[in-house]
Assembly symmetry: C2
Homo-oligomer: 140 residues x 2
DNA sequence: TATGGGGCTTCCCATGATGTCAAGGTCAAG
DNA sequence: CTTGACCTTGACATCATGGGAAGCCCCATA
């Protein structure tokens, strides 16, 4: 039986987050000492490590909730787990693609920016709407 | 002069966000009608478009604040702008690398997961700490 | 002119995951 | 008994955005 601080150190999840996970029902309420201190046994610390690892792979807490349930369910099908993982991979890849597109654009713009004392800058021109830059009050 | 809804449609920034940007001082307070309706002129809509574009490139609002100031400063140096952009690119690339590492691990795990009715699943094994899975109460 | 619909106002709450800070109780060692 | 480390809860911050409620305003149409 460990206190929350010990469980935090043993799992890599901060005490703050352990309490938070409990408050949102990701973890069950654990035993308490007479003074109200939380006490964690080996199984609970193991679940914390599970969460920590899942977070490090970017899984959102809601998915981790499902993963934990599957982990505990001896009758689970690996297909269910795999679906969650591949869906997460798709999410990640979508975000990566979006960011790569940003990087591409930004690098292109930065490449054409002198980066000296002069004020002229293709980056600002792009942001300002290069193809429509400061239209002199198009009477609309 | 446009109302907030018109400015939103013209800029791509939601009315909700326009108000928010004003409240955090990203945008100056604009003119109001007698009834309290905000009114936007062409310059202000232009600034909104600027923000919209910058957000689409992933710039955080604090950086956009600086970019707006530079945009308005005729005595700016393009070097300053370029620094902001390249720093942002570095941020993006760091996040991309992190996510790519997640994807790599997840794909590897998923590849070895049967994805059928059986419960055995390398993904869960990894999360559970494959190399240390359920240590029978290591008396610590 | 009355009424309705749509737009505007402000304010509060929620998201997702985490952190910081504060005020107070507790425990163990000295 | 004091001190310091640890625990408790709760509020607030981050970052950018959305949703919704309550209420006022404006215009068009019947």
């Amino acid at each position: 039986m460990r206190t929350i601080g010990e469980a935090a150190r043993a799992s890599g999840v901060s005490a703050k987050m352990i309490r938070h996970y409990e408050s949102i029902g990701l973890l069950p309420k654990v035993q308490r000492t007479g003074a109200g201190y939380r006490l964690y046994d080996e199984n609970e610390v193991h679940a914390l490590r599970f969460i920590h690892r899942a977070r490090s792979l970017g899984f959102p807490l809601e998915t981790i909730r499902q993963l934990l349930a599957l982990w505990r369910d001896r009758r689970r099908s690996s297909a269910t787990v795999k679906k969650l993982a591949t869906a997460h991979v798709a999410d990640l890849e979508a975000k990566i693609a979006e960011m790569q597109s940003m990087v591409k654009t930004l690098k292109h713009l930065a490449h054409h920016c002198h980066g000296d004392d002069r004020p002229d800058c293709p980056i600002l021109e792009d942001l300002a709407g290069s193809d429509e830059a400061v239209p002199r009050q198009r009477s609309a």
